[in-house]
């Protein structure tokens, strides 16, 4: 073991991964149900629940905006962290390249989500 111990920066990524995982567990299944089953088939929810005007209003409200942002951004950080470590398990050890690609995509998704939500206006 190396004598000088460098503090790991992993807590940042592990924190985003953990937050995304928690959110995915809480919201993931119900999102699949709402967007993929209930609304298209008109079960429980009205068929126009996800119409353009409804969703536009949702994305304009500060709470809806916030929810969309954390769902998109944190799901992405969660997924990219998992893919990064799975690549390592599969023997792809180009650490800095894969790390840059994975976390870079998460940064990109975060910025795009923020940009789009701001562009929708309040």
């Amino acid at each position: 073991m190396k004598p000088a111990m460098k503090r790991s920066n992993a807590p940042i990524f592990w924190g985003l991964f953990g937050a995304g995982g928690m959110l995915a567990a809480l919201f993931g299944p119900v999102l699949v149900f709402v967007t993929g089953i209930a609304v298209p088939l008109g079960i429980i929810l009205p068929a126009d629940a996800m119409s353009w005007s409804h969703m536009h209003a949702f994305a304009q409200h500060w709470a809806g905006k916030g929810l969309l942002f954390v769902v998109v951004a944190l799901f992405m950080w969660h997924a990219m962290h998992r893919i990064y470590h799975s690549l390592h398990d599969l023997g792809v050890h180009a650490a800095s390249a894969t790390r840059f690609a994975c976390y870079g995509l998460a940064v990109l998704a975060t910025l795009l989500a923020a940009g789009a939500l701001l562009a929708v206006g309040f």
Partner: protein, 254 residues
């Protein structure tokens, strides 16, 4: 061991041999070993060494799962040879190899220098919060304070968890499950005051964040220690340290 103990049953024990002075690379060698239902894999190896092939090398001492010497891969799983019985291999054959992820010294003997260096680095002893004189009496602890770390103190340094850990296999710099269990054993002890110092190792680039929560370490532990739990608790603590150090007053601490 006399013939009358063995009821005429024979098992084929395949051993991965490696003698550095004469073998280019490891190879499998099979031995036909007479056995009885009460014989462990370790006793099978001892039969080979005593009666069939004196050149076979393996570590053992206590024969009762407390010394941690006879860890090896038995049919691909990290197990103690003394705690695994020949009767449990009904196909009539069992393969025995040196522990995975460690350099092989000879036959079933691995080099544990890496583990020992790591063990030393975590200061595996109680560093008292406050020195007490003999007149002040013993360091008292409640049963609840004991419960917090007791299971982690059962580690026998057998290294099965290291052979089970895919992340240690990929990156031997990782401190690994057993060391984290032991580090936690001392950090979680109410009498100890050196947690901050040990957390430098847990939170380092060689530390807990190399773990991907596979959990096989805890499954293979012959002493029911839960190293995966020690790693998880210290991921949370190391993450807390990482963010809170910015909020803490500077003082004398790093």
């Amino acid at each position: 061991m006399s013939e009358s103990h063995r009821n005429g049953k024979v098992i084929r024990i395949e051993v991965l041999r490696y003698r550095p002075e004469q073998d280019e690379e490891p190879f499998l060698q099979a031995y036909e070993v007479p056995f009885s239902d009460d014989m462990s894999v370790l006793q099978g190896l001892q039969y080979i060494k005593d009666w069939l092939d004196g050149t076979l090398s393996f570590r053992w001492s206590c024969r009762m799962a407390i010394c941690g010497s006879c860890g090896m891969m038995i049919d691909g799983e990290p197990r103690l040879a003394c705690k695994t019985f020949l009767r449990d291999f009904p196909a009539g054959a069992v393969r025995v190899e040196a522990l995975a992820h460690f350099p092989v010294e000879r036959d079933l003997v691995i080099r544990m220098d890496d583990f020992l260096a790591k063990l030393e680095s975590i200061k595996p002893w109680i560093i008292p919060k406050e020195q007490r004189s003999i007149a002040q009496g013993e360091y008292l602890q409640t049963p609840a304070q004991l419960d917090v770390y007791e299971q982690f103190s059962s580690c026998i340094n057998c290294l099965l968890c290291y052979a089970a850990c895919p992340q240690y296999g990929l990156n031997p710099d990782f401190v690994g499950p057993g060391i984290m269990a032991l580090l936690h054993r001392y950090n979680a002890d109410s009498r100890d005051g050196a947690a901050a110092e040990r957390m430098e190792i847990a939170g380092s680039e060689a530390g807990v964040f190399n773990c991907t929560a596979v959990g096989y370490c805890s499954e293979v532990c012959p002493k029911h220690v839960d190293p995966a739990n020690a790693v998880n608790q210290n991921k949370t603590r190391a993450a807390g340290d990482y963010f809170l150090r910015l909020a803490r007053p500077k003082g004398g601490a790093k």
